[in-house]
Subunit: 305 residues, 2 copies
Amino acid sequence: MLKIPDHQVAGHTARHGKLGPLIDDSGRFYKPLQDDERGSKEVAFYTSFSSNKRIPDHIRRFFPMFYGTQLLEASDGSGLRPHLVLQDLVSDRHNPSIIDIKIGSRTWYPQASEDYVEKCLQKDKITTSLLLGFRISGLQIYGNNESGFWKPEKKLVLAFTPEDVRLVLRKFVSSNSPTDSNSVPDCSFAPSVYGGSAGILAQLLDLKAWFEDQTIYQFNSCSVLMLYEKESAMKGRSSGAEVKLIDFAHVVEGRGVIDHNFLGGLCSFIKFVSEILTSPDEHSTEACSPDPEKKCIAIENGTTE
Amino acid sequence: MLKIPDHQVAGHTARHGKLGPLIDDSGRFYKPLQDDERGSKEVAFYTSFSSNKRIPDHIRRFFPMFYGTQLLEASDGSGLRPHLVLQDLVSDRHNPSIIDIKIGSRTWYPQASEDYVEKCLQKDKITTSLLLGFRISGLQIYGNNESGFWKPEKKLVLAFTPEDVRLVLRKFVSSNSPTDSNSVPDCSFAPSVYGGSAGILAQLLDLKAWFEDQTIYQFNSCSVLMLYEKESAMKGRSSGAEVKLIDFAHVVEGRGVIDHNFLGGLCSFIKFVSEILTSPDEHSTEACSPDPEKKCIAIENGTTE
C-alpha cells in the first residue's frame, strides 16, 4: 500500500533500501523522523503552525496539510519509526515539472553549533546561496512522452552557477527539450506559469508580503517548491502553477523579528522570475553584455576563495 | 578653516590627533582615504554612482553629494593625504538627533578573505546584525538646552541587545530625556518623524522599492543614517526628518543580482520603525508577553555560542 514517491526531487530518498519518505494512494506523504532533533523540530513546527490562529488562510495554502504523526515500518527495513503524515503535494498531478529552491543566503541559524555553522557556510559559499540568496536543491522538468523527465543528479544541481540557475528557470517554462543544449529555451509557458493573476509570481508576491510582516517564525533552510503541468499548459488548459513551502526541520521562533534572511532570498528569487517575464526572448548568453554597467553574471569560482 | 565635525556618531574620528574626517564652513565633508583598498574602493563607488544615469533622482537624494577627491593636510599631522570631498549632511542642522544603522545580517562580502570573513562574522554574532539584520553603529539624541546630547560610547552601542535597539528607536522620537531610565519614552514625535508622507518610514519604503529592483551594486557594510531636529519638531515646525546612505568602502558590483542582504536587513529595520508608529504607547517591556506565541524578544547572549 505504501510506495516510494515518483516525483521527489530533493532530500533523502527511500530508494535502494534507504530511509526516506513514502506515499499512499489516498494522497498522503509519510516523512520519517530523523533520529536527531530535526525530526522532533519539524513535528513541533507543524503542530504549532496548524493550530496558530494568526496564520491567514491565503498563507496557509502555501503549506502542506498536516495530519499528525504515525508509527510505520521504515523504508530501510529498520522497523517501526514515527513518520510525519503530510499532504502529498503531487498526488493529483500528471507529469509535474518541479523545482525545489532552498531560500536564504544563510542556511544555518544563529543558535547552531560552530561545526554546523561552518559546514553550512561552506556549502552556502560553493553553491549559489551566498551570492543569489537561494539555491536550486533539485528539479525535474518534463520534456515529452518519449523523453520523459530531465532530472539532473544532485551533484550537478549543487554545482549550478548563477548563469545555470537563470537558464534552468527559463527551461522550466519552455516547450523545447530541457536537455537540448543547442536550442535556446523559448519560455513559451512563462506567461501562463510565472505570469497571470494566479501564477507563480503572484503567489510569490503574496508570500513576500507576509514575510515583510510576520515575526512568528524564522524559516531557516526551508524550500520553495514550484510545480506545474506542461502537458496541460500545452493544451491551453490551466498549467496548475503552484508554489509550496516545505522542509521545516530548522524553523525557530521569530521572537518579534521578521525573517530577513528568507525575505531577502525570496526577493532575489522573485527578481529572477520577473526578469524572465519581462524579457522572455532574451538569450541567456546576453547576460554577458559588453555594457560595462551590465557585466557578465557568470562568476567563475568566485565564491570559494 | 577645516575643523573636526561636531555631529559624527560613528566611524574613525579626527579627535585626539587621530586620522579622521574634517569639515569646512561651506558644507563639505572631507573623508581621508585609508591606506588599504577601502579608500580607493569608496572613491570608485562615488565616481561610478555619480555618473550612473540609471540611478533615479528620488534615489540619488539618499546619497551624499560627491565633489571628487582633494589632497589635504591629514588630521593626524602625517602630511598630505587624499580625501573624499562629500556633502556635509548636517551643515545646515541645529542640534540634530542622529542614528547610524549598519544594514545587513552579514557585513562581509563573498569575495573577502577567510580572516576578514571570520572577523566580521564574529562581530555580526555578538552585535544584533545576525539576529536583526542590522545594528546600531552610533547615535546622538538631543535632550534639551541643558542636557545637550545623549551620545553613548561605541562599546555600549555595540553591546545593544534587540530590546535595547527597540528602546533606542523609541527614545529617538520621544520628548522626555533619553538618559532618564525611569520614564517610558513617550514617542511623541513618532508621527512627525517616522510617519507622514515625507517621514522616515516613507523614505525607507522608497529606498526598499529601489533595492527590490536594482542589481547594479551590492552595498556591503553600508549604513542608513536617520536624522531630524527635535527643537524644530517641538515647535510644531517640520522635523526635517531625513534618511541618508553612507559608507561605501565595501560596495561591489551587483552582477545582475539584487542586494538581498541589504534588502532583508532594511525590511527588518522598517518593521521596527513601523511597529513604533502603530503602537507608540506600548511600553518596551510589554514585548515580554506571557502569550506563548509572542515570546520575550530579549535574548540573553544567545548569539555568542
